[in-house]
Amino acid sequence: MAKEKEPKQPTTPFGVWAPAVGLAWLIPGGGHLLLKRTGRGVLLMLAITGMFLCGLMMRGAMFQPQSGDILTILINTGGFIGDVASGILYLLSSWLGYAQPDMAGHVHDYGTKFLVTAGLLNVLAMVDTFEIASGRKD
């Protein structure tokens, strides 16, 4: 039996969601605050910023893209993208010289993971902001 085609959702104009998503990248939780989701925005800001700051205080390392074998490229480029996804937190900590070199020790390892995960959680917040701005979510 032939499946019926689902009706396509109308595409939301770029100008409607882009400012909110851009702000969500730059300031974790900022997109939600712009869209008047204050409570959720504050929670996201506290959680993501808290995680990033804990990562810095654990002296976690920031990734830089590197060439070499495929695993090195994947890990370092992926980690770099995760770091950059934290927006202003990453930019400020790099500019102010808080980026640490990679060091041995479980606390530094956790710190590095905290820094990358803060960025990845911010990506989730950006996707949520996009869904709210485009009307797919209330």
């Binding site: 959720r40 929670l43 996201l44 506290l46 959680a47 993501i48 808290g50 995680m51 804990c54 810095l56 205080m57 654990m58 002296r59 808080y98 479980h106 606390v107 956790y110 710190g111 993971k113 905290f114 995960t117 803060a118 959680l121 989730l124 917040a125 996707v127 949520d128 979510k137 209330d138």
Partner: protein
Amino acid sequence: MPKMNLSHFEAALLFALFTSVVLGVVTKRTDRDRLRYGAYTFACFAVALFGLGWLMYFGHG
């Protein structure tokens, strides 16, 4: 910048807390569901943390 020294357990629990908050906030559609999902995710992290901890303890011999 002050230095933070945490044990494996404390760091993993802190990780679980922050991650659960964000997953709870972005995943569900009502505040009640968000709270429940956040708590559920945190509980899952904690169970996995204890489970893997014991697994490594016994696996280490």
